[in-house]
């Protein structure tokens, strides 16, 4: 259906009720940069769109040293991308934002929307998972919050029940000696969908790694943590050899598929190369 009914509720309660009552073909409409495309390309049946952009309380961006970065569901990628604070404190996230779609798309696309679309190749998800972000959810039964790492259940699928609406993200502050990086692999430099995305957050004590969190995108049904690679790095000295071994291990941590963008073998190869490179970048950065 190219035509659909349009709703603009004023509160979360109204939005939630609409989504519940209108059924499976009613969808949240925030930035629309995925939803409208799916309608035009006939990838999704949509009978109703529920525009949540008039609902107050979801457009703020705040930072404090205790909580970290908090932003609401209506905050766009472009807003976050252009904040010096985000660029300096979360360069991995900033890098991912810079590569999402295009500037025009980022002027509308919300980060929470990118997350809820739950594409395994979404750019914002790996860095947020690597930085242990929490997602806040409104449900008719009350607010809840869960680690972003537990939010996804499969490609395009999340734990959100009908009538639930994600309202915001909190990203904890970085540890004192830490570095972070995000590398998106693509065949051209913009307007790309990641064939592989690697986000690394590294906490260190001098040249020794205290903890590494490596999140891999586009190489599994959801964004994966490279547990094997992380185990190698934990407590280890950050030498070239360790990095190389971690890269190798990350290759075994992922389950890529072959499609028109790349073969599974190539993707696995790139996980190895890019994990190593991302670790190096994260090492050379500082908290």
């Amino acid at each position: 259906m190219r035509r659909f009914a349009y709703h603009e509720p004023a509160t979360l309660e109204d939005a939630s009720r609409l989504l519940t009552d209108l059924g499976d073909d009613a969808h949240v409409f925030a930035g629309g940069t995925d939803l409208l495309v799916e309608i035009r390309e006939r990838l999704r049946r949509v009978s109703d769109v529920v525009n949540i952009k008039s609902i107050p309380g979801m457009s703020d961006i705040t930072w404090d040293e205790a909580t970290g970065l908090t932003f609401g569901a209506l905050v766009t990628a472009r807003q976050l991308e252009t904040l010096r604070g985000v660029q300096e404190t979360y360069p991995n996230f900033a890098e991912a934002l810079r590569q999402l779609g295009s500037i025009q798309v980022r002027g509308r696309a919300t980060v929470v929307g990118n997350i809820c679309r739950a594409s395994p190749s979404a750019d914002t998800i790996p860095p947020l998972i690597a930085d242990r972000a929490i997602i806040h959810i409104y449900s008719p039964r009350g607010m809840r919050r869960i680690p972003l790492a537990e939010f996804f259940t499969g490609p395009g699928r999340t734990v959100l029940a009908r009538g639930e609406i994600a309202t915001g993200i909190v990203v904890p502050p970085p540890a004192r000696q830490s570095g972070r990086a995000y590398i998106k692999h693509g065949r051209r430099k913009a307007m790309e969908l990641a064939t592989v995305g690697v986000a690394v957050s590294l906490e260190r004590d001098g040249d020794r790694c205290l903890e590494a969190r490596i999140a891999l995108g586009a190489v599994g049904p959801v964004v994966l943590r490279a547990a094997g690679a992380e185990a190698i790095l934990k407590g280890a000295d950050l030498t070239d050899e360790t990095l190389a071994r971690a890269g190798e291990a990350a290759m075994a941590d992922c389950t890529p598929i072959s499609n028109v963008r790349a073969s599974a073998d190539y993707r696995r190869n790139m996980v190895g190369v890019l994990t190593r490179r991302a670790l190096r970048t994260a090492m050379e950065a500082n908290a």
């Binding site: 259906m1 190219r2 035509r3 035009r40 390309e41 692999h185 065949r187 051209r188 430099k189 913009a190 307007m191 790309e192 969908l193 028109v260 963008r261 790349a262 073969s263 073998d265 190539y266 190869n269 790139m270 190369v273």
Partner: protein, 773 residues
């Protein structure tokens, strides 16, 4: 050349200068009218229902539910439309095209082929109504590669043509004694080369608007490069005299050759408008530009050449197979031009060539910038590079040595004029510092040892005009108005190349009037002289010559009129910058306006100059020097810089010529590294019919380009020696990149696109091979 025109001269006032393009002001203000911008009152929107099977018979098609859908005004299926076999591509009775299409058939031959058309009051309703058209298919066995299609017993896709799924009889060319040549060779190189499916991906999706008047005349706006051809084929198929069809196009958003065909949707749009008695506009979605547009011909080519140790050629044998897809479109022209192009570029007296165009149940391949020669010269130039490696010679030196030159017989059968290719290679090598760059910059980057740089050269030549395949004709009508202003009427299409500006420059230069006093009327087949269309890089060469002739005729008439007023003879007068004066008395004259205007006893004049030009062919040349960086860990290849050197005979508008070259390079980089329209080889279904997964180079991917234009080999067949330039860049850049990659990592690729996976696999194989050696 018409003897009214003045001989070659050196001091030009207007040509050779990048004058302000008049058509561009409308483009930068957004005021220019493209077909999709038109919305006449009562307009309906047309949409096409497309098959989701690659090869099938339509057993049953039921449109009753679609017709009953609120807002739908008409639905057409194969039973409702004229059953006339047509050429698809409208080149009239020429060797270029195939007569194998019905508007709608009871058979489907490729996934996505149109099976019905709907007109409704909104685009959304038309789109929704498509789902209500019920089609029952009887699937037929399909063939998805030329090899499968050519096997004995393969299912036949068409009932016309030579049979065996061939679009045309094999093209065979033989010169000299090839077997003797091979016997005399010091060494022989042999290889297989192949290419995927790039598409033109013009930014303006195909669109047309049809409107019939009460007297049965069709007005048809369409984004096309060939409005007179569209007129002719619409008239033929709809059973109308040509003067009852008026085709219009104002601004057009790119074509690159692929908007030469008369597409299925254009017929259907006209028929929906006739059925509903309302204007109907039909606009392709971006997806449809892939599925139902025209791609380049995928190809497989086998090339064997004999060389002497001093680097010259003794023999060349080539076999090429082009994948035509489900319909013939331009396959005959592409096969002929592509195959015969291999008689040239690098000199060889003994040549045996064979070219085939084959039907498959794949998307339709058609005319696209380069027209079969992108494929053959990719192979020819790369193999010459291979010979250079084998001989331990500099590839530029070897290509220079073998470069076609003055007097050699070109693929058209005429003699080449001048030494344009040599000039391109020499100029480029010097400017690029080719020898130094290749020997001095070999040290790997210690900070990033996985990166390898390489330098490569690719050469090409291409003809302006479709001669001898099509006997072309360029026409121009030029009016000098009573106030001295000039109106040039041309049927030449304006697809964005700046052709109309170049024609106005030519007219102004020949007439001797300021550029600003010439305006151009185009785009209405009722009002302008017949034109074959903008393709084959021939507008400047062909229509430019006709324009020059028309201007020359008008100039003479102006001089005769002025002579009468000045009481002298025309022979003693000249026109300079809009002023007519005796050649020996520049301050005694009158303006063109004064000459044209009324004076005692003589009414105002209205002078008409006419030009008709039937060309042969001119050849343009190019040499592209490129620098690439290969990331040996990811396989990604970046093109860092390109130095394209082009000989165009005489440049009319330098910036427009550069623009053609730079745009062609963007397309060629895409062809060679990232662009491929991929179809599922099991089902024929398209897998990447969109602009993200069909990857064109964007702003951040483009190299620095240092464009050099030479006037090394003017061709007297063109205005002041001008030749074409539109297709040359896309032919030279591909082999240049492939050769540069070899230079960087020692791996020889003989196909495009060269993907990162290809690079990594080849590097791994090379490592294994070197280790084992």
């Amino acid at each position: 050349m018409n003897k009214l025109t003045r001989p070659l001269q050196n001091d030009f006032r207007i040509i050779g200068k990048s004058v302000k393009r008049e058509d561009v002001i409308e483009k930068v203000t957004g005021e220019g009218t493209y077909v999709a911008d038109l919305k006449p009152a009562g307009m309906l929107y047309g949409k096409i229902k497309r098959a989701d099977v690659a090869h099938a018979r339509i057993k049953r098609i039921d449109v009753s539910r679609a017709l009953a859908y609120p807002g739908v005004k008409a639905v057409l299926t194969h039973g409702d439309v004229p059953r006339v076999l047509h050429y698809g591509s409208p080149h009239p009775r020429s060797a270029s095209c195939t007569r194998d299409q019905y508007i709608l058939d009871d058979r489907v031959r490729f996934w996505g082929e149109g099976v019905a058309a709907v007109a409704a009051i909104s685009e959304e309703i038309a789109d929704e109504a498509l789902d209500l058209v019920e089609v029952e298919y009887e699937e037929l066995p399909a063939v998805f590669t030329p090899e499968e299609a050519m096997k004995p017993g393969a299912p036949l896709i068409h009932d016309v043509g030579p049979g065996g799924n061939l679009v045309l009889d094999p093209v065979k060319v033989e010169r000299g004694d090839v077997d003797k040549g091979f016997a005399e060779a010091d060494f022989i190189l042999e290889g297989e080369y192949s290419g995927g499916r790039p598409v033109p991906a013009y930014m303006e999706p195909n669109v047309c608007l049809a409107d019939w008047d009460g007297a049965g005349k069709l007005t048809f706006w369409t984004s096309t490069q060939t409005s007179f051809m569209v007129r002719g084929i619409l008239a033929e198929v709809l059973g109308l005299p040509v003067n009852k069809v008026r085709v219009l196009v104002d601004h057009m958003g790119g074509g690159f050759g692929a908007k030469q065909d008369c597409f299925q949707h254009e017929f259907l749009c006209a028929l929906l408008a006739r059925a509903t008695r309302r204007p109907v506009r039909m606009e392709f979605t971006r997806r449809e530009t892939f599925v139902a547009g025209r791609s380049r011909h995928p190809f497989k080519l086998w090339l064997k050449q004999g060389f002497r140790n001093e680097g010259t050629l003794t023999a060349r044998e080539m076999k090429i197979v082009y994948d035509s897809g489900a319909y013939g479109s331009h396959t005959p022209g592409v096969t002929i031009v592509g195959t015969t192009s291999a008689t040239s570029l690098y000199r060889c007296e003994n040549v045996r060539l064979e070219g085939r165009g084959v039907y498959t149940n794949m998307p339709i391949a058609g005319a696209f910038r380069g027209y079969g020669v992108v494929q053959t010269y990719f192979a020819l130039d790369i193999q010459m590079d291979e010979a250079a490696v084998r001989l331990g010679m500099d590839p530029a030196a070897l290509k220079l040595k073998n470069a076609v030159r003055d007097g050699d017989i070109a693929p058209s059968g005429h003699a080449i004029i001048g030494r344009g290719l040599e000039a391109c290679i020499q100029t480029g090598a010097a400017r690029f510092d080719w020898s130094a760059v290749r020997t001095q910059n070999r040290r790997p980057d210690r900070a990033r040892p996985h990166l390898r740089k390489g330098w490569g050269l690719g050469c090409e030549m291409h003809g302006s005009s479709a001669y001898p395949g099509i006997k072309e004709q360029g026409n121009a009508l030029l009016k000098v108005n009573e106030d001295g202003s000039v109106t040039l009427m041309t049927g030449a299409a304006g697809l964005g190349t700046g052709a109309h500006t170049a024609l106005a420059q030519i007219a102004a230069e020949e007439l001797g009037v300021p550029f600003k006093s010439v305006s151009v009327v185009h785009g209405d087949t009722d009002a302008v002289p017949w034109d074959i269309g903008a393709f084959a890089s021939h507008t400047t060469y062909l229509v430019g010559s006709a324009t020059r002739m028309a201007a020359a005729e008008a100039r003479l008439a102006i001089l005769e009129r002025a002579a009468e007023k000045l009481q002298t003879t025309a022979k003693r007068l000249t026109i300079f910058d809009g002023v007519i004066h005796p050649t020996d008395a520049p301050d005694q004259g009158l303006t063109v306006a004064e000459a044209m205007g009324p004076s005692k006893g003589i009414p105002a004049a209205n002078i008409l100059g006419r030009g008709t030009y039937e060309p042969t062919k001119s050849y343009s040349f190019a040499a592209h020097f490129v620098e690439v960086t290969v990331d040996t860990e990811t396989g990604l290849v970046e093109v860092d810089r390109v130095l394209p050197v082009h000989d165009v005979g005489k440049v009319i508008h330098p910036i427009a010529a550069q623009g053609q070259i730079e745009g062609g390079i963007q397309q060629g980089i895409g062809h060679t590294l990232t662009e491929d329209y991929i179809v599922d080889p099991e089902t024929g279904r398209s897998l990447n019919a969109g602009l993200v997964d069909y990857k064109m180079p964007l702003s951040m991917d483009m190299p620095d380009i240092d464009t050099v234009i030479l006037e090394a080999a003017p061709d007297p067949g063109g205005p002041w020696g001008a030749k074409g330039v539109g297709e040359d860049p896309i032919i030279a850049i591909g082999p240049a990149i492939a050769n540069a990659i070899f230079d960087a990592i020692g791996v020889r690729f003989r196909h495009y696109p060269i993907t990162p996976e290809d690079v990594l696999n080849a590097l791994a194989n090379k490592e294994a091979h070197d280790a084992g050696a």
